[in-house]
């Protein structure tokens, strides 16, 4: 199998098994919903504070659900020694990483796209004319989280206390994604002109590129015998 078909088959396999079981996406979705509800209760917001707090709440919810999805990503491979088989196959390690990255990214993005209308309703947002920009920020932020997250998912799945270690390792590293995504989302919401927040989107894109390349390179040291 060549490089790109490995990526395609791995991602496709994850999507098919998800379509049949609907385990990951549904648990991610309900977890995010609960996070949002908890935030709404604990801040008891009026319309104005909701607008200022909403970007932060949205991205915290997205990242937390992302961690749920990422934690399950390689866990599924442990059953029936699938991970061992993947490691023994003479396929490039980087392709395994990219395949997993694609499926993790898609899972997170699907959940975010389902949740987004709920945010619009709950927080009474007026976004329809800026929808493409929103989706761009969503994609850039999600790719950043899943690029680092896929690497650490593969790392933590083979150790003790994996549920604890994944967020402990992942969350400090994605601080730039959080700052960039929250600032960009907030600026879009408050109706600023693109020149004021372009640099945040650029930061997200640069982060995505750097960490996809770095993780791609170091992944071979994670799945190595």
């Amino acid at each position: 199998m060549n490089f790109f078909s490995v990526i395609r088959w791995l991602a496709w396999k994850d999507l098919i098994s998800e379509m049949r079981s609907r385990e990951t996406i549904s648990s991610m979705f309900f977890f995010a919903l609960i996070v949002i509800l908890i935030f709404s209760f604990s801040f008891s917001m009026d319309q104005q504070t909701a607008k200022t707090l909403m970007p932060g709440i949205m991205w915290v919810a997205f990242v937390f659900t992302g961690i749920i999805g990422l934690g399950k990503s390689f866990l599924a491979e442990l059953q029936n020694d699938c991970l061992e088989n993947l490691q023994m196959n003479p396929i490039p390690r980087g392709a395994i990483y990219l395949g997993k990255l694609v499926s993790n990214f898609l899972f997170m993005l699907i959940v975010e796209l389902i949740l987004f209308p709920l945010f619009v309703i709950f927080f009474n947002l007026d976004v329809f004319d800026k929808l493409p920009l929103f989706v761009l920020i969503l994609i850039a932020g999600t790719l950043g989280v899943s690029a680092v997250g896929t690497l650490f998912s593969a790392m933590t799945v083979q150790i003790r206390a994996r549920e604890v270690m994944l967020p402990i390792l992942l969350l400090p590293l994605i601080v730039p994604v959080m700052i960039g995504a929250v600032e960009a989302t907030g600026s879009v919401l408050s109706g600023e002109s693109v020149t004021f927040y372009r640099h945040w989107i650029e930061l997200l894109v640069v982060f995505d590129i750097i960490f996809t390349i770095v993780s791609f390179w170091v992944f071979e040291f994670i799945l190595d015998h």
Binding site: I159, R160, M165, P172, V175, P176, V206, F207, F211, V218
Partner: protein, 232 residues
Amino acid sequence: MIRMIRKYEDWFGVAGGICIAVGLYLGLAASPPDYYQGEVVRIMYIHVPFASTSMTAYFVMTAASLWYLWKRNPIVDNMAHATAGVGVFFTAGALFTGSIWGKPTWNTWWTWDARLVSFTILLLILIGYLMLRTFIEDKEREARYAAVLAIVGAVDLPIVHFSVEWWRTLHQPLSVSPRGIAIAGAMLFPLILMSAGFYLILTYMVGVRTQMLYLQQLLEAKKGRLLGEVHL
């Protein structure tokens, strides 16, 4: 290599101790107070060496990690491990003394400044690194995963710093930087002496800890062989 460390480490410790003792006297008693900050500025002689050694420690850790992934020499991994442990001490020291300095000068213990945030993230990565190592049984895998984390963290830290700098910043610019030295001679000398002392102590501590980890691993390997298992 371990023999070389054992031979020279004590000299580093002694020289570092002398430098810090003289530097502390010069910094706390003999040097003039700052024009703006008064006597408060004297914490600089501890804070700045803490900060620069902790960054150097992370740099050394990353270099050792790259070296390990390249050559797979277990002693280099012990060195990276040792540097992380010592690095936690120096990073926490930098944050702690910085917080004490921030209260009288910025009127706050804590603020979301670029350097403060990057040092906090640095500390969190180091603690995560040490935690990760405790959760892996297999020595070879532990070394590999830890090295990967160190490298990813090294790539991340400049981006963290950069992004928070855009976000908001309050920290005074560095007094001693490649762009020039903005500090009086009477204050510079004790600062250099203290920094030299801190670097020597850092070397000493890493040397001791590396030896300890190496011996620990050796002991475990021998124990394993006695029990009929093969570890290393």
